[in-house]
Amino acid sequence: MAPLFLLVVAALTSAGACAVGVRWLGLRRDRLGPAVLGLCQLAGVALVFLALNVALGLAIVFLARGVLRVFVSVYVLDDVYLPLLSAIQAVIFESWRGLRAAR
């Protein structure tokens, strides 16, 4: 029931945002598809950053264990902030790319 409730709430605010966008902000309905593609692209970049962060983190952990003989748990990477940081990296990177394209 709780998952369905969340989906209904998100669907209602999405419908509201669509109405506001079309009626008051002058947004075009036919640009919604490309906006969703933009989200997919942003999510893709975020996943690439996440994969890079995990790979580099693991390499450092195993380097510390193998070379420095210091035990570092791989669970240091098990933190909700790693995907959040990856998302921030993706937003900044995509904004940067967008600025270059607009110039």
Partner: protein, 205 residues
């Protein structure tokens, strides 16, 4: 081309995120991963390390939950020994020390509590259990750990010479859960898949 690939990766990621949170996909995967064996009396209960202690030296929720499962199995008379493991680090006491303290506070006699103080990984724990329990003639153990981690832990303990029973016996397929809880389960499934791959590459499995 790169943009299309990124969009595809992103779409798959978003699709998976929604499928994990809003369908029973992860419940089924988790159930499928958990080994099944009838819960039966054994010679020892082994509670694997899980999470450690906080800055005040208190067991965290996951560690306490695992220990309570072990204590409950002991109280039900399923084994005469309780071997507790845990992270050896901590400024105000370690996970193992606190787990032993809590076990005593729960009424388990001193002589029934065994501690594994230096294990840092599941592989270490399997080897440590062999060192501690082997000389006592213990062969059949009940293992307490996460359902997702049980498959790898059982394989390691079996390689160390034990006959292993998972603490939950036969897993139960649960359909419920909030999206956040399901996401947490999915994270453990992914971590466990990566750990199993590493253990195979390292030759532990």
């Amino acid at each position: 081309m790169a943009v299309r690939a990124l969009r595809l990766v992103g779409a798959v990621g978003i699709g998976l995120l929604l499928a994990v949170g809003f369908t029973p996909l992860v419940n089924v995967v988790s159930y499928w991963m958990a080994p099944s064996r009838a819960l039966a009396p054994a010679q020892a209960i082994v509670v694997l390390g899980r999470g450690g202690v906080n800055d005040r030296g208190e067991l965290n929720g996951a560690s306490l939950f695992g220990l309570m499962e072990g204590v409950d199995l002991y109280r039900r008379g399923l084994a005469p020994l309780l071997l507790v493991s845990g992270s050896p680090s901590g400024t105000h006491g370690t996970e193992v020390e606190r787990r032993a303290d809590v076990s005593r506070e729960c009424g388990i006699p001193d002589q029934a509590i065994l501690t594994m103080t230096s294990a840092r990984t599941t592989h270490d724990e399997a080897q440590g259990a062999r060192t501690i329990l082997g000389p006592r003639g213990v062969r059949r153990v009940i293992l307490v750990t996460d359902g997702q981690a049980m498959g790898r832990a059982m394989a390691l303990f079996e390689r160390a010479g034990f006959d292993v029973i998972p603490s939950y016996g036969a897993p139960v397929l649960q359909w419920g859960g909030t999206p956040e809880a399901r996401l947490g389960v999915m994270k453990r499934v992914v971590i466990e898949a990566a750990a199993s791959l590493y253990y195979r590459l390292a030759g532990y499995l």
